[in-house]
Amino acid sequence: MNTNYIALVPLLPLAAFLLLGLFGKKHFTKSAGIIGTLVSLIITIIALVVAYQYFLVAGKVNGAYQQTIAMSYQWLQFSPGVSIDMGILLDSASVMMIVVVTVVSLMVHIFSLGYMKGEERFSTYYAFLSLFTFSMLGLVLSSNIFQIYIFWELVGVSSYLLIGFYYDKPSAVAAAKKAFIVTRFADLGFLIGILILSFYAETLDFPTLIQRLTSEGSPQLAAITATSFLGVGMLTWGLTLVFIGGAGKSAMFPLHIWLPDAMEGPTPVSALIHAATMVVAGVYLVARLFPVYAISAPEVLQFIAYTGAFSALFAAIIACTQTDIKRVLAYSTMSQIGYMMFAMGVSGYGGEQGLGFMASLFHLFTHAFFKALLFLCAGMIIHLVHSNDLQKMGGLRKWMPVTHISFLLACLAIAGIPPFAGFFSKEEILTAAFNGNRIIYYVALLTAGITAFYMFRLYFSIFWNKPVPEAHGHGEGSFTMKLPLFILSTGAVLAGFVPFSKLVSADGVPLETTVHLTQSIAPVALAIAGILLAYVMYFKTNNKPQKVAATVSGFYKLAYNKFYIDEIYLFLTKKVLFNLVGRPAAWFDKNIVDGSVNGLAYLTAGISQGIRKLQSGKVQVYGLYFFAGIVGLALLVLYVWN
């Protein structure tokens, strides 16, 4: 299988980025969108071809999908054996991911043709999109843990650029900054994790690294487990830190605070980056190193599971109270990623045990479709209403039928109503959780119900309820905006029927799964209950929501204010870091360090001033000093130095 052409998948967007970034403003003001979309289309086709080749033609050897390094180029060598090799790693997960990334990216490209039309920095926008696509594809194809870190940072900066796209809005600038810094903080953990792992594994390449840290009796594994710091083994440290990196990108509690703010970016961007692709990078990262987690450090997986489960529930609760449509979607994203995370966490390696792994990636796959769809729909709505606020929406079904249907399908999918895509993946996750950890299972169940509730709260508030008078006018939008909705709706409906377990699993061996109907009853019932509750409260204008909010006012307030996590951070950064570290550091520098330098100068000048009396201008005094000098020297010579 000739795989060199796969390199085109990340490289074409890079080329597009350079082209548009350097010359877009002058030469491609109008055509930038077409260029970007075409490139996106081409790589989508390539990605699909690759997927076809891999999954159906050549990927499977001896009944298992193989992990192969398609190409590798030594980029930076640190020491013999430890080097950053820019390469392409093909396995079922990465192939699946490039499909997701290219498809969603293509949708967003197409959608933006309409959505961003007339924007002053149209070409810049497409340049940034291309940059992001490049980085994300590079990330998923990474064959080297440092390579993934590099692209990790690059997606971070693309995200920064895109969130801050409306740079004259201070809130957008602040949100972009916040997103970058929070994820940077997490990346620090990732970096240290890499340092730890690579030091003991003596390699940075994924296959070798995994092999060395998993195979029984390898000296590297022995070394890393033998060392510990603060009573915790080095391997645990390393893997936990790597996970923290992933948690930052994937907005796991408590590193999630940037995600809702990131909605300041253009909505298609939110669909691409903050719903379908970049935010799941954390899940992907854990999946990449999954054998190590599962085989050598199951305790870290536990940690991951609890973090994921908590985040899922936590985000779901907040989502119920938010009034900004995009923020609700953002919290829902966080909640769904929590699902994926804990699915990873409860999973084992290989065979039946590996169900969680498969389910997690499956959910990632389906979620990409329906969440992207939801965001694009939100984009349509915002495009129409010029507001993000739920209060300003209502009864929109009349003016935007396509959006309405798409949104409904997506809601059903995310709520896990059969036979929509979400049902299948969620089903697998819950089964895995049921088998793995009951506490998590119940949390997941509860979350499933809440998910259905807040999604339909959104749905009813937007499309039913009381129509908003000013919400009409220029129709639903152009064909380019509708086309992605069609495609993604198809995905949201049908993606669940992909035989995912046959294709993607932790060890590459296809997995046989069956849907246990008994298992599905509880979540589906809960979901329907959630929908009904939403129907009761939000289908028509009434005061039930306020009443409910009033009865649990304390909790409501907490949830509405996102449990004050932002404020805690603000306190930590502003009060503690800024005022207790930064300010004293600056003060210390100015007054103590610099002060001592200046003080030395003043001291010299002072002494100089002080001894000026020595030069009294009186020749007799000079004589006295002269003689005193002689006496002094004579005494020294005679009695001290003798």
Binding site: S608, Q615, V619, F626, A628, G629
Partner: protein, 470 residues
């Protein structure tokens, strides 16, 4: 015998000849205009300098009382050269002066005094040379006859130097008393280091230290430098100081060799004090001459480090540094002298905005100051570096560290002048000065020297080749 005297004592005899030419010229009916006088004298001095470069031989006459060595000849040539430069630079000041011939007569006689000191091989000749160099110099300090400061300076110089030479003589008498000889060679064998001898030795050191203005015997320096005419100040700070330093080094290395450990300690202490005090006073000065006086005090501290090295490297570095110092200090004094003779301004603050009106003069001054501060690529860098190396040869790094720190302080005040010239805004800067061609020529020589002396390594190598250590 006579022939030997003529060939060995050529430098002194040439100067005596010059002195008598001047004397008879003065006695002649027609003295000519000052301009002619100055031109002729400058040419004569140049001839004297050039003549000093050739046909030199080594040997001694008057039963070893007078000794001519290659090193001594080289030192005399340096001094001759310095006098040429000073003479050319003082053109602007002298051309309105009424006593040009007398000025040069006195100047030449002091120079003879220095030469005798360099070549003299006993304490009497040494003492006479010293007085011959000092007494007329005091008269020279008073040559701005109508200036109060000039008289004050002359008075301070003559009083202090009389006092110092009395102490020096007391020391010499004790040396004589304890050894029975005044001859250098015999002295070096006879010195035993008894307490009385050490006391006498300290007195002698003080006498030297007074002349080279080392702390705490330096107090006269600033006042005298400030009050004297610039030409005399530059003579004092360059020629007088340089000559005494030559003598000091050779006396320490040869005569007082038996007391080496004592004088090393003394030199260490004096050198540190000199650098520190000189620098501390220089920081605050506003009068350019006074400023240069203190800076030259600090320079002496550095020279003493070189002397303390007590190797042939020490001698070489000292001689080389003095040569560099001639160029750099005279470069600075050249500008100060030009400014002072034309405008009468001597304060540092008068120089603010100087660069705007007199860029070339500014560069001359700044280059000279950089050289004094020891900043490459000027010659001063090499000079200082070699001095420190010579000092470090003894392994006393404390001294070198102190010296290095002092270099920073000294850099501060040199840069202060640079700052005044280049950076300070001045509504009414000094006008564009018209400099006569003699001083211009001298400055050009100084600048050339400052720039090339370090790169033309044969100069140092030559000096190093003829230098003798302890």
């Amino acid at each position: 015998m006579v022939q030997e005297i003529f060939s060995l004592m050529k430098p002194e005899l040439l100067l005596v000849l010059l002195l008598f030419i001047l004397l008879f010229w003065k006695l002649a009916e027609n003295e000519g205009t000052t301009a002619t006088q100055l031109a002729v004298i400058n040419i004569l001095l140049i001839i004297n300098f050039v003549a000093g470069l050739f046909l030199n031989s080594e040997g001694s006459v008057f039963s070893e009382v007078y000794k001519a060595s290659t090193l001594a000849t080289a030192e005399k040539n340096i001094l001759n050269f310095g006098v040429c430069l000073i003479s050319m630079q003082s053109y602007g000041w002298l051309k309105t002066h009424k006593h040009v011939l007398e000025f040069y007569m006195l100047l030449v006689s002091t120079l003879i005094g220095f030469f005798l000191m360099i070549s003299g091989q006993n304490l009497l000749v040494f003492y006479l040379g010293l007085e011959l160099a000092t007494i007329p110099l005091a008269a020279l300090c008073n040559f701005d006859l109508e200036k109060r400061k000039s008289s004050e300076a002359a008075m301070k110089l003559i009083m202090s130097s009389a006092f110092s030479s009395a102490l020096l003589l007391f020391g010499i008498s004790l040396v004589y008393g304890t050894t029975g000889t005044i001859n250098f060679t015999e002295l070096s064998l006879a010195l035993s280091g008894s307490p009385l001898q050490l006391f006498a030795f300290v007195l002698l050191i003080a006498g030297f230290a007074f002349k080279i203005s080392a702390v705490p015997f330096h107090l006269w320096t600033a006042d005298v430098y400030e009050g004297s005419p610039v030409a005399v100040t530059s003579y004092l700070s360059v020629i007088s100081k340089g000559a005494i330093i030559f003598v000091f080094a050779s006396v320490l290395y040869t005569v007082f060799k038996p007391l080496a450990s004592t004088w090393y300690n003394l030199l260490f202490l004096i050198s540190v004090l000199t650098m520190i005090i000189g620098n501390l006073f220089a920081i605050r000065q506003n009068n350019m001459k006074r400023f240069l006086a203190f800076s030259s005090i600090a320079q002496v501290g550095f020279i003493l480090i070189g002397i303390s090295g007590s190797s042939d490297m020490g001698t070489a570095s000292v001689v080389f540094f003095v040569l560099v110092y001639v160029f750099s200090n005279l470069g600075a004094f050249g500008v100060v002298s030009a400014v002072s003779s034309i405008t009468g301004k001597e304060n540092m603050s008068d120089y603010s905005g100087f660069y705007k009106t007199n860029p070339l003069l500014s560069w001359v001054l700044v280059l000279s100051l950089f050289s004094l501060a020891g900043i490459p690529p000027t010659a001063g860098f090499f000079g200082k570096f070699f001095l420190l190396m010579a000092g470090a040869g003894k392994g006393n790094y404390v001294l070198i560290v102190i010296a290095a720190l002092n270099m920073i302080v000294s850099l501060f005040y040199y840069l202060k002048v640079v700052r005044t010239i280049f950076m300070e805004k001045n509504e009414a800067p000094m006008e564009k000065l018209a400099i006569d061609s003699w001083p211009k020529f001298a400055m050009a020589i100084c600048v050339t020297g400052i720039i090339t002396l370090g790169f033309v390594s044969w100069v140092y190598e030559y000096i190093s080749g003829i230098s003798i250590g302890m």
